[in-house]
């Protein structure tokens, strides 16, 4: 067995659409170690962890636990081998107590009766052994987020987990809760547990972890002792550009500000403040890019701009009108186009036809209406033109959109949004998970729209895309703008990485320039 308690050897996983999520990944962790796995969104971390937890199986490669090769065919098997997973989204039943949640599935029973006393004793025992201080009789719905997470960890520990995988655990915690969590994790390490800590918060990785493995684009790019590398080093390993074709771009000719945010403060659905005073503007005829690791407030900024979120404070104006006073329909009528991040749940109605999906949001336009009825000929003409123009590969416009491939579905979404009368186009991860051809055409479109005078706000995890397309670039970290680049000629991805991962931060005067009118 030696030093390696857990080994992943040459793990390769390819998804149905040909995307290689994990490419010959090698990883090992020893007993009593806290090992961080760092990588950007889409680097392949979650795929790797899914295989480690038995939710998916590798196409190639082996997993070796305690010296024995295992086939983790289901989460149950993984649990049997001592692997426990703490998900980002809690798997708890709110109306049950802590003890009930922790022992669900392995309930102590005397005959038919659920032995509540023993469940509480079991929970208390594990809780005290690792210094968790959780009340077994409390109801989960009354607990704070930090305590809920402890319950999740207890769930794994009570089942005898020796290897704990934590997926972005501090994303939902306050600083104090994070400190507490780290105390506990250190205690667990001292008692011989192995902890795999998935995170991109480099400061935390530095303070908590022993070793770090960086994954980039499905491959491992290095395993190091945390003591040997600085945050800047890690950042450099994580962030890298793909060699890809650039879209040609003439200099921008920006006009008036179309979208203006000043000191925007916003809360998520749990009441946590996630946008902490963001100010920037987007003018017509320019593309403003927002870089940042997922979960740093970008989603809430987009929700606020597109009319999906209410509440919060600060100024938020679209063409001089207060966005919060406008309904989504009014925003769209005023010229807002939105390519959402989650196309399947928000961007399309899977069972409706391609034509109908392209018509959504535009059905009120006079050109598509003849008196009381929809003008089917006009609709057909336009949608056929868009299908051809945006190169949507399908059998016909009547086909239901859910049958198309991911890339083609996105093309339908983009076609719909970019052909509306657009003053402001908000694109959230527009080319994620899409083939090269579609990606290129969508990027060219965005530049074309910009040249025609639209204001474009581009949120993307693809740095190459941001550096290529943006005229001005912002970096978001921890709900704030930590960097602003009015001129992209000198910016490197390395530098961007430092800001994205919180290694560096610009001053208020430097970022203030983002707000131009």
């Amino acid at each position: 067995m030696g030093d390696d308690f857990l080994r992943l050897e040459h793990i390769t996983k390819v998804y149905g659409n040909g995307i290689m999520a994990n490419d010959d990944v090698c990883f090992s962790a020893s007993k009593g170690e806290i090992h961080a796995i760092c990588g950007e969104n889409g680097a392949g971390k979650s795929t790797l962890m899914k295989q480690l937890y038995g939710v998916e199986q590798p196409d190639e490669g082996r997993i070796i636990v305690k010296g024995e090769e295992v086939n983790l065919s289901s989460p149950q098997v993984a649990i049997e081998h001592g692997i426990g997973m703490v998900f980002q989204h809690f798997m708890l039943v709110p109306s049950l107590t802590v003890a009930e949640n922790v022992t669900l599935g392995i309930e102590p029973a005397s005959g038919l009766r659920f032995d509540a006393a023993r469940a509480q004793a079991m929970t208390r025992e594990v809780s005290e052994r690792y210094g968790f201080d959780v009340d077994p009789q409390a109801r989960v719905r009354d607990l704070t987020v930090g305590v809920k997470q402890k319950v999740e960890i207890l769930k794994a520990l009570v089942r005898g987990a020796e290897i704990l995988i934590l997926d972005e655990p501090t994303a939902v915690l306050t600083p104090q809760e994070t400190d507490e969590l780290f105390e506990q994790l250190r205690a667990l390490k001292a008692s011989g547990h192995t902890i795999i800590f998935i995170s991109h918060k480099l400061g935390e990785v530095k303070s908590l972890c022993d070793r770090i493995t960086v994954i980039r684009r499905g491959r491992t790019v290095g395993t190091h002792l945390v003591a040997d590398v600085s945050e800047a080093d890690i950042s450099r390993l994580m962030v890298g550009l793909d060699v890809e074709t650039q879209v040609p771009k003439a200099p921008a000719k920006p006009g008036e500000a179309v979208l203006a945010l000043k000191d925007l403060v916003s809360f998520d659905k749990d009441g946590k403040q996630v946008v902490n005073g963001v100010s920037f503007s987007v003018r017509s005829g320019e593309i403003v890019g927002i870089a940042g690791v997922e979960g740093n407030g970008q989603t809430q900024i987009v929700d606020a701009i597109t009319g999906f979120a209410t509440g919060g404070s600060g100024t938020l104006e679209f063409e001089g009108r207060d966005v919060r006073s406008m309904s989504i329909a009014e925003l769209r009528a005023a010229g807002l186009a939105y390519v959402p991040e989650d196309r399947m749940t928000t961007g399309i109605a899977a069972n409706l036809s391609i034509r109908e999906n392209m018509l959504a949001g535009k059905a009120a336009l006079p050109r598509y209406n003849r008196g009381l009825f929809l003008d089917q000929d006009a609709i057909r003409r336009d949608t056929d033109a868009w299908i051809a123009d945006f190169d949507v590969l399908c059998d016909s416009g009547e086909q239901s959109v859910g049958m198309l491939s991911g890339g083609n579905i996105q093309k339908v979404v983009v076609a719909r949004e970019l052909t509306a009368a657009t003053k402001l186009i908000v694109c959230d991860q527009p080319t994620r998970g899409i083939d090269v051809g579609a990606t290129d055409s969508i990027r060219r479109r965005l530049v074309g729209m910009r040249d025609a005078g639209s204001a474009v706000l581009l949120i993307s995890a693809d740095l190459g895309e941001l550096l290529n397309l943006s005229d001005r670039l912002l970096v978001v970290f921890g709900g704030e703008i930590v960097a602003y680049f009015p001129d992209l000629t000198e910016v490197t991805e390395e530098e961007l990485g430092y800001y994205m991962l919180g290694v560096r931060k610009m001053s208020a005067e430097q970022t203030g320039g983002a707000y131009l009118v």
Binding site: E330, Y338, A363, Q376, M403
Partner: protein, 381 residues
């Protein structure tokens, strides 16, 4: 877009046309055929096991409408309420609202139409029935508005509230029937409606009344609404994906409310039409059951009004068969509920024949690949 090859003759053409329909639709057609087969199978087994003369009973069940003009006209008569409630439910289900409250709307719609025909407008030709039917629609609208608004404002569960509402309507209606409008000379009828208040019979010698025209019109209107107007498009979007509808700027709750109100109005009209077309006095002492029929109809028609006439003919055909069979061969008519229930179960089973579906998808992908290759060769050659 690719074009299909130009050979239009014979079986090749048929299979190519079949191939042009998506795999999804073909699988649904297959599922429908199997569901109908199973339903018929169950019915046949029950008849065979219980009828005194199974062969004779079966003949009536499957062929009755063609065995006599009165049977055929009975079928047409049955189609009328089926199409109307089917249209009402299709509209409501298009927004994914499981509103089961049509029974109450139909009952009170019928009652109010009768009252109108007796007291309010008994003898103006054409105007009387029209007025009464519109009154019935208004009543249905108001009845459904109650649970629909409760859902809109308070998110009260629409399934439960509409089920309860049906009984409230029934008992209020019974109160009105027995305590207010009852003809003292009878035990449970109202006075007769006025001479011009009823719906005229279209084909003399039958009971097929002018309500047929209205029901056809309603189905056409429902189809046009859902598939040809902006409002209908919005309703369908809400039903298919409320997130997406909201993202597109639609007011989801408001549209759900509108759909239910429309359904309620049509429900009220159905009651009115049945009352004025078939009876000269109001005498219903139980809920009619047409509301549930509407659900069955909508399921068979996949919520698309353009299939409602087919679903109506299908259901009415076998209901007539069962009806004739019941008095000619002594087999209870209730068999038809079993028949319909079994078909509903298998029609809506998504996972039913899922193995076959997968095979169809692969076969289809193979075929398309071969077509593309063949076309490529043609171009190259």
């Amino acid at each position: 877009m690719r074009t299909l090859s130009k050979d239009t003759s014979g079986l090749g053409a048929v299979s190519r046309r079949l191939g042009a329909i998506s795999v999804q639709t073909r699988h649904e057609m297959l599922r429908m055929a199997v569901a109908v087969a199973i339903g018929l199978g169950v019915a046949v087994v029950l008849i065979a096991l219980t009828a005194a003369d199974p062969a004779r009973a079966l003949t009536y069940f499957v062929a009755a409408p063609f065995m006599g003009p009165s049977y055929f006209s009975h079928m047409i008569e049955v189609i009328i309420p089926l199409m109307m409630t089917g249209a009402a439910v299709s509209i409501m289900f298009a927004t994914n609202q499981f509103n089961l409250g049509l029974e109450g709307a139909i009952y009170l719609g019928g009652l109010m139409a009768a009252v109108s025909g007796i007291y309010l407008m008994p003898d103006l030709p054409v105007l009387s029935p029209v007025f009464s039917i519109l009154l019935g629609a208004a009543v249905g609208f108001a009845i459904i508005a109650i649970p629909a608004l409760l859902q809109y404002k308070f998110k009260a569960n629409i399934v439960v509230s509409t089920l309860m509402m049906n009984y409230v309507c029934l008992y209020v209606g019974l109160f009105l029937l027995f305590r207010v409008f009852k003809d003292p000379a009878s035990s449970q009828h109202t006075y007769p409606i006025g001479p011009a208040a009823g719906l005229p019979v279209l084909i003399p010698g039958t009971k097929i009344h002018a309500g047929l025209i209205l029901s056809v019109a309603i189905v056409i209107l429902a189809y046009v609404l859902l598939y040809k107007t902006r409002l209908g498009f919005s309703l369908r979007m809400v039903g298919q994906n409320p997130n997406f509808a909201r993202y597109a700027g639609l007011g989801v709750s408001g549209l759900a409310l509108v759909a239910q109100l429309m359904g309620g109005a049509i429900g009220g009209m159905t009651g009115a039409v049945q009352m004025l077309g078939l009876y000269d006095r109001f005498q219903w002492t139980t809920l009619t059951g047409f509301g549930w029929d509407g659900v069955t109809m909508a399921i068979f028609a996949r919520n698309n009004p353009k299939y409602l006439p087919f679903a109506a003919v299908f259901l009415a055909y076998f209901r007539t068969g069962a009806w004739v069979m019941s008095f000619k061969a002594g087999v209870q008519i209730d068999l038809v509920s079993v028949f319909e229930g079994v078909m509903v179960l298998f029609l809506m089973a998504e996972k039913f024949l899922s193995g076959t579906y997968r095979k169809m998808v692969f076969a289809d992908a193979d075929r398309k690949r071969k077509e593309r290759e063949a076309a490529g060769e043609e171009v190259a050659a």
